[in-house]
Symmetry: D2
Subunit: 331 residues, 4 copies
């Protein structure tokens, strides 16, 4: 249930609605929009009797929400969410590109890559300090030392930082150092981590799980948002199918699907989906053409020796070419 | 095994190579390229002793072919195949758009749609006269009457005609009336029909099966080509996965995958993949951006009453908009 | 729509119902059951006005059929269909085992295998004379010579014969020689072949396509049955998924799914699903335990040199062991 | 690399090998087997120079391990692992059945179900106190109160308890109350939780993720085992495919696949795979026939009002019937 306030409703009237909802045993979360505020009722399982709510001052209407997700839904908030970070705006029409290595290996490596991708037009630097790895015997990342290197990269280049938090210990550190906290595909339904992300002070980049439906991805975003963090960027990174010329199948239909259901921005990770260096540029062009709000791309100064987990990094000059080639599509 | 002839090899030298191959108990198929001819050895299962072949005049080299497909392979013929139909060239860089209704319903319906899509920029008219239907009780198409309507459309509008042949009876008729013969997804491994298509005088549009790998699609094209018809256009139309916001999952990675392995052109059918009218335009833009040689789109003057089998047709003005929106990507 | 006749309805009353249906512009197909006859209305798309039908003598009730398939549906015919071939009954509780090589290679090979599998308890001999192969360059079967060898096997051993028809040319020959005509997974939606199978005088073994839903499999059976051949045996042979320890994923849930929806018997092909010799016995036991009416298993006297297309044949003694091991489950 | 000790090697000799491995910069984990001990080297990425190791006393041989997993591998430990809990042995041939409701709802509900399933032959009681739910607004379990109810069930009935831990907070509590700690499908690659499970004093029931390959499931078990907990029970519970007559596709081939690769026991959850009450008994029979070491089944005294997340619970008498029907297959 969504209680939509009139355009001229006062703060006090919104507060009165929230209190009335609490009296009913539920929770009311205010959702300020461009023109008017709505109050979302959570905690109810069945229908809510809206009689008392409609009688409160400033209330325009009460809308039953039919989808299992509420806060992330377009029914709740029709206008697109824009995530502002300094002068970068994700979800506002511009295609924001995040680029960098799979793993933070050393300061020198990161600075080399960062300076190059910045020159090519990237706005945000990616690099893993905590790496979720299939094998317990694989390199698991530099940890906080890696985060310090990322902070250095920001200081030196002005690029913002996105990096993955893999659990409730690492998210405390990542929140401290990064500008955007990434939740990886394998943790998309790690509800404990999602709730913690919902209490974070930074935007969340939430990757779609390998076998997750669009509804499940949005329900995971709902977990984050229901804890109070509305700054969520979704990410399509390929689903698991029977195909074998790529590592996963990039599901570009996910972009219009999500745009239809949710107000959240969505970006595309062509590197992990393809697992093939040669396919990153054409898939990036397709992602921009289909309406993605951004890209996250693996780039390395020495891809042959990169510590990677399945994606193949672009060479620095290939990334420069990518930024050239997507230009005509960024309209 | 592929026997590559020198650039200046004569017709007689090529013929001598073919005869030598036949003496070895195999078959030699000449593959004329832009600069030189190659002779493909088929019928061998294990390695071929190339000693005698290399000693023949005009022979440059003998290349073992590692992929299961030969004739459709880029190893065999590195330059892209261009299918010329009048002044239309498929595979030459231009994005060729085929448009029309799912099924031929009446002359009036077809002419209305054809005149509109022609004005919007389509070059080829699509429409089914023989419809493969999941249910034996569904409308199975107008048959030859439908083909006559398609011929009328060509006469009146100048648009070329692509239509599906569903079996060895209908292909005789389709070959007579159409400019391109379509083999549908459900018949992708109907080898009898593929062989017949390989003997046809018209180009073949071969759709990828719902669960077909790229290798299997190329092997099916190999069936057609090994019978002597090199004019094949491949078509990606979505694969079957667990997703549920679209009817199938459009696998746009298939386009660079095929471009890497084969010289054949490939087009995309966003209508059947999506099953959703709203997604046809964004997926068409993505298809063009990723490098497809063309599109095949369902369009109807009255989509709500279209005889369709799962795809949702675009309205005439939506198709006009599609042609506008893909313009910047057709570079 | 299904018109159910009273238990004591006469032949003439049934005929009168069929004629009334034809006057309405549809077709009426009589479905004799153990206790009473039903008449199935086909050719209608929307609801049928049952007013006149209910007034005819001998009519008990008219049941709207909600599933897209009718003749194969349990709604139409609740009691299980039993396919009788001599004293073999498929679908009557006994687990009928079909065994033999992938391809007919020679008379000696077939007789060796046949005598062995007969001794172990198989009732039906399988072997391909027409082989649908992914590659046009692979062995495509011995054709009619292979069928003659199969006839010889029947003559010598008394085993019945099941073999695949791949197209409308080979089905004429297969119908002449075999006891059961197999339609392979790749032809499950080859509607031309299905219609021809519906006119055949022999039972049909219809294999599920790699990406076919249960509804689609039943619709394909409906094609056969709507042409007049009610003797259909379904076969689960694995579906295509992301797994990689087996060739395909054997979907044993398909057996209870089909038993719930249809009256047709269903058998299981563990050899093609697994693609692994070691898994054939455990999967056979599971298939029998889940309720399959039979098995079709690849067996060869010299598996290492078998002409096969992906399944791994059992050794003769492994098949004897399989027959022992499934005994406790055949209850 | 696996260092296999002679049958009569002393504890001191094993210790000396471990110390030598540590000098090389790696970690040595002793794996006591029925006849001899092996020491597994972890932490190495490339080949290890085994020269020094082979010269140590008591060392029989050094085996390079080719699979990405080591400790869980049959190469490392050929004999099956048996998990002993009181007089229950999982992996020793007997089919151990775990049964109970999806969620712990109340003491009365749990005791009613527990007494009934015990009478029918279940040895272990299942019931969720911490529920991972797709929606943040769904019932998330009774938490520690639920665990106390489970402890009461054990006290009253003598049944052992298995229940899920969803994160590093709940695992502390679950470890305290339960006999077996369940890690759910959505947490199969929650490495933080896996590591914590590896430090637990109780056996772990590790469920396969919806899109996990067999290798990935075993790698997750490797995480647990590399932390020191060798008592792991794997569980197949269905994978996500295109099928639609069941909630997921139960992949029974997983059982022989895992038996081939690993020494760990594996059980089957037919309830979550099928999502259909009617299919639980046939799939249970198939699971036992294919070689599963146990079953975990949802049972409820009032299934229509059960708090469930997609599986359909059996009625108490249906579970009694299941235990009867699997009897002939438990050989």
């Amino acid at each position: 249930m969504l209680v939509v306030m009139k355009n001229d409703a006062t703060k006090e009237q919104v507060q009165a609605v929230i209190e009335e909802i609490e009296k009913m045993g539920f929770r009311g979360i205010p959702m300020p929009g461009a023109e008017r505020t709505a109050v979302c009722i959570v905690g109810n399982k069945g229908p809510v009797d809206d009689y008392h709510l409609l009688m409160l001052e400033g209330v325009k209407e009460a809308i039953p929400v039919t989808k299992p997700f509420k806060l992330v839904s377009k029914e709740t908030k029709p206008e697109p969410t824009v995530i502002s970070l300094g002068d970068i705006k994700i979800g506002a029409g511009e295609v924001v590109v995040m680029a960098g290595p799979c793993a933070v290996e050393s300061e020198k490596q990161c600075l080399t890559i960062a300076q190059s991708v910045k020159k090519s037009g990237a706005k945000i630097f990616r690099g893993g300090a905590f790496k979720p790895r299939t094998s317990p015997y694989s390199f698991q990342g530099l940890g906080e030392d890696g985060l310090k290197i990322l902070a250095k990269v920001r200081e030196e280049t002005g690029l913002l930082i996105v990096t993955e938090a893999t659990d409730n210990a690492s998210i405390d550190l990542v929140e401290q150092y990064a500008d955007i906290i990434q939740i990886g595909a394998r943790n998309m339904q790690n509800y404990f981590l999602l709730r913690r992300a919902g209490q974070a002070s930074k935007p969340i980049l939430l990757k779609r799980g390998l076998a997750a439906t669009i509804d499940e991805l949005l329900m995971s975003a709902e977990y984050i948002m229901s804890e109070g963090n509305p700054r969520i960027i979704l990410c399509e990174r390929g689903i698991r199918t029977f195909t074998n010329t790529t590592r996963n199948t990039l599901d570009l239909s996910a972009i219009p699907s999500i745009k239809e259901l949710s107000h959240l921005p969505i970006i595309v990770d062509p590197s992990h989906a393809a697992g093939r260096r040669e396919f990153v540029i054409p898939l990036s062009k397709a992602a921009v053409a289909v309406g993605a709000d951004g890209l996250i791309v693996e780039v390395h100064n020495d891809p042959a020796h990169a510590l990677s987990d399945g994606a193949q990094s672009l060479y620095l000059d290939q990334f420069a070419q990518l930024m050239q080639e997507i230009k005509p599509y960024r309209i």
